[in-house]
């Protein structure tokens, strides 16, 4: 099963690379914000899978829990910041 988790983590990292295309060439600023969110979601799952690969699930669960909450709060802060500054 460890090889399966490693394969899934590699596939997800490859998907992250594809999402970075939009982050670099995204026409508008807010496309770059979504790509940050999308990359964050995939990294969350890769973190959990790393917990299995390194056999330290109790540590990695806390890391990914924190990562999920911070990524959610980050998206909210992006939303609130851009309305006031009108950067878009």
């Amino acid at each position: 099963m460890d090889n399966f988790f490693l394969a899934i983590a590699l596939v997800l990292s490859f998907l992250v690379l594809i999402c970075l295309y939009r982050a670099v060439f995204g026409p508008t600023v807010i496309d770059r914000i979504i790509s940050v969110g999308v990359v964050g979601t995939k990294t969350l799952i890769v973190l959990l899978l790393m917990g299995f690969i390194y056999k330290r699930m109790d540590m990695f669960v806390d890391i990914s829990l924190l990562y999920a909450i911070l990524s959610f709060i980050g998206a909210l802060i992006f939303a609130k910041y851009f309305v006031r500054k009108g950067v878009l």
Binding site: L15, I30, I34, I45, F52, D58, V61, I69, L76, A79
Partner: protein, 121 residues
């Protein structure tokens, strides 16, 4: 490898593969759609479902070596991540969409004419 472990492995493999499939679908939608709103539409839904399915599979596999208290707590935390993202994902998407719309980004139309008058009276 008792029969229970084999069944658990199969269920975990199926769940995580569906999760990765929805991630891939979200990525394809994220790249191909012409406009910010349609991209957000794709990623918001597919990523949320991908996270929920993958977290369900991972939470199941966390119980694979016996139902000790530690394993149960770990898989409960993973399920909490899934439920939290199931609620938080769409909320974050809505906040981003709301701010983009209020700051004047108009939805894409095939012939380029705006279908919503801006600023709203």
């Amino acid at each position: 490898m008792s029969i229970l472990t084999v069944v658990l492995n199969i269920v975990v493999i199926v769940l995580i593969s569906f999760g990765v499939f929805f991630f891939a679908a979200g990525t394809v939608g994220f790249l191909r759609f012409p406009d910010f709103y349609s991209r957000m539409h794709a990623t918001g839904k597919c990523d949320t479902l991908g996270v929920v399915l993958s977290c369900a599979g991972i939470a199941l596999y966390a119980l694979h070596d016996g139902l000790s208290l530690g394993n149960i707590l770990v898989s409960l935390k993973i399920m909490f991540i899934a439920v939290f993202w199931f609620l938080g994902g769409p909320t974050a998407t809505h906040a981003l969409l709301n701010s983009a719309f209020n700051s004047g980004i108009l939805p894409w139309t095939k012939d380029g004419k705006a279908i919503i008058e801006w600023p709203p009276k």
